[in-house]
């Protein structure tokens, strides 16, 4: 695993033409990357605070569903969301149409604000979950005491909630900043041009249009430096932040009973829910009519994507399960670090490295699909380990001694105890891997020749040739498939799993 990543990085480092330095376009890409990531993180976190506050102190029907839905963007294919956002906020979209009836000019989605909009769409839910977790960790006694002392509204915010936020916000901001740094698919579809190109996109362009491997490698090195730096800070600030389980816990609140407070909360929850759901509905609405007569390439691409997702899932499990076992039985500090490497190297950087490494020996295009599956698996690995390792540690600490006393050390324990007991987590991790791989539009763009396409790439190509109806239908199919593979694997893991 580490060898793979370091090998890719080494290939990048050897090819990088540091002597030539940065040209104006590279500087612009660096600047744009930082600006859009800052704005995206800022808006996501600022909006998340009132939404999370409202979710934390209100109980209503559908609340748990809404909170569960906040986890959905993680497996939502970027290209699907982008198309949905275009349907709503694009030039010919719903918002522009509404403005038109009022005699106002239509809105534009391409450029910086479009990129930021898409990033907020993806990261507002994540930020909300992170912040909501902070709220849920405030002990119930604190709120009871506050009620006893008559603390409400603004005073409640200052005395109890603000200190929590001050502790939590820097971490949440940095996590989202780091995620947006490596944004590729959003910039590819909504950005572009000299004024809206991220470094990741610049790597792709250096590759695809100029076939300037030296420049691609140099940009990769810069990108790597950025992500390692931001990722390191994020990891350090957000230690112990899990996947936000248990966010559903009912907590009795005594404050915020005024009419204004109720309306403000309802407004924020409503707007956030609409912002997340309307683009998806738009895809469903515009996708359904074209569903029956989709071009044949779409179905071929769908089959290809399912194959890539399956391979990627298998690869992920082959890496994650032995690593989990090693970490849980305390044999693998180094293994744990190797797992985190996937976070540091962005998919396009690893892809660039692999391309450079393969090229002297074979045509990289022949390896488009396996490389995509492999890079997808590496990307999911850190998340998979975060899902698997805590549970595995728990199993080893609770049942390790019983296993040892029965002479089950080694394989028998793995086979009869650890793996069966990890079923639910394995299913969840496999579901994430399959869904992410299904929807990924990254490395495949570097490697693919015109005859090969995964479903997201096919959607992108349809968009590029302005076949918007077919693109909508294909992305609706992609949406369904992504959620279906996740659901199937996750469900499969939960069935028969004992506590």
């Amino acid at each position: 695993m580490a060898a793979l990543i370091f090998g890719a990085l080494l290939a990048v480092a050897l090819r990088a033409e540091t002597g030539r330095g940065f040209n104006a376009a590279d500087w612009a890409a660096l600047r744009f990357t930082l600006v859009q990531a800052t704005l995206s993180a800022l808006f996501s976190v600022l909006l998340a605070i009132p939404v999370a506050r409202a979710l934390a102190r209100r109980r209503f029907r559908g609340r748990s569903l809404l909170i569960a839905l906040l986890g959905a963007p993680f497996i939502l294919p970027v290209i699907v969301a982008v198309l949905g956002l275009i349907e709503v906020f694009g030039r010919g979209g719903w918002v522009s149409a509404a403005l038109g009836t009022l005699g106002l000019p239509p809105v534009q989605i391409y450029g910086l604000h479009g990129v930021v909009l898409a990033h907020v769409f993806f990261n507002l839910p994540l930020a909300t979950r992170l912040v909501l977790q902070g709220w849920q960790e405030i002990p119930a006694e604190r709120f009871r005491l506050a009620a006893l002392l008559g603390i409400d509204g603004w005073a409640m915010f200052r005395v109890i909630e603000m200190p929590m936020l001050l502790r939590l916000i820097p971490g949440a901001f940095t996590v989202i900043f780091a995620i947006c740094l490596t944004s590729f698919a959003v910039a590819l579809t909504l950005g572009g041009g000299p004024r809206a190109t991220t470094i990741e996109l610049a790597i792709y362009q250096a590759f695809r249009f100029d076939f300037d491997l030296g420049r691609a490698a140099l940009l990769s090195a810069v990108q790597l430096g950025l992500t390692v730096f931001a990722g390191g800070i994020a990891l350090w600030l957000a230690r112990g932040e899990g996947f936000g389980s248990g966010l559903d816990r009912g907590l009795r609140r005594f404050d915020g009973k005024t009419i204004t407070a109720r309306w403000v909360d309802a407004l924020f929850i409503g707007v956030a829910a609409l912002f997340l759901l309307v683009p998806l509905m738009a895809i469903a609405l515009s996708g359904l009519p074209g569903f029956a007569d989709m071009p044949r390439q779409v179905w071929t691409a769908a089959a290809t994507s399912l194959g890539v997702a399956a391979l990627s899932t298998v690869l992920l499990l082959c890496m994650a399960l032995p690593m989990t076992a090693a970490i849980a039985t305390e044999r693998g500090r180094m293994v744990e670090i190797a797992g985190l490497l996937g976070l540091a190297a962005s998919p396009l950087v690893i892809g660039t490295g692999l391309f450079i490494a393969i090229r002297p020996y074979a045509n990289p295009q022949d390896f488009a699909l396996p490389v995509t599956a492999l890079v997808n698996a590496i990307t999911v690995l850190p998340f998979a380990l975060r899902i698997l390792v805590p549970r595995a540690r728990d199993i080893v600490s609770r049942q390790g001694r019983l296993g040892l006393s029965l002479g089950m050390a080694g394989l028998p324990f793995l086979r009869h105890v650890l793996l069966p007991r990890l079923r639910a987590q394995i299913g969840f991790a496999a579901g994430l891997a399959a869904a992410l791989s299904m929807g990924d539009l990254g490395v495949i763009t570097l490697f693919a020749d015109p005859n090969v396409a995964t479903l997201p790439l096919q959607v992108y190509r349809l968009m590029g040739s302005y076949q918007m109806e077919a693109a909508a239908a294909a992305s609706f199919l992609l949406l369904i498939l992504s959620f279906a593979v996740f659901w199937l694997l996750d469900r499969g893991g939960h069935r028969h799993a004992e506590t």
Binding site: Q399, R401, G407, M408, A409, P412, A497, E498
Partner: protein, 230 residues
Amino acid sequence: MLKLDAAHIRNGSFTLAADLTISGGATVAVIGPSGAGKSTLIEGIAGFLPVAQGRISWDGTDITDQPPGARPVAMLFQEDNLFPHLTLAQNVGLGLSPNLRLSAHDKTRVTEALDRVGLAGMATRKPGALSGGQRSRAALARVMLQDKPLLLLDEPFAALGPALRMEMLDLVAEIARETGATLLMISHAPEDARRITAQAVLVAEGTAHAPRPTGELLDNPPPVLRDYLG
């Protein structure tokens, strides 16, 4: 014969010194104040804690460096004595093969063991569907099949009611008698110790003392034990 030869068992920063011999087939209670090191003694013998110096041997064979599964030891913990995702038959079968590769003959023995402890017909149930007493019985069925010469109990029945606990202890005593196993059990209740053990090891102030007749020790307890018994 179990022999602890000037053994120092390390448990974090705490060390328990033990220099004692327990004869084969003996039934021995381990008693002493809370935190004195009773569990440390048992876990050291089972191989879960390292021996810093000295040796532990069984019938002349040095077992100090053997892994827990290779020692002549069967053990019941305070809790989690069964794997919750395996059926009773599988859990008990682990006593015969840690791989769960069971021959037809093995399966018959598993069924017989379950019958013996009063769990006939429950082979396909999982621990979650059983009462606390039934879970204890299943764990004892496995101990029977493990057929190890040394049986260590770290208060596995502490969570059961008094009547049920007595029943389990009697079953343990019976099994130990049948298999000829040497029994070493931690006990907090003097009546438990009197009920099924002939000897008792006092663990206090970092030392495990040589065994003495249980009744005698409990009737004339040394000061540390008297404070504890109240």
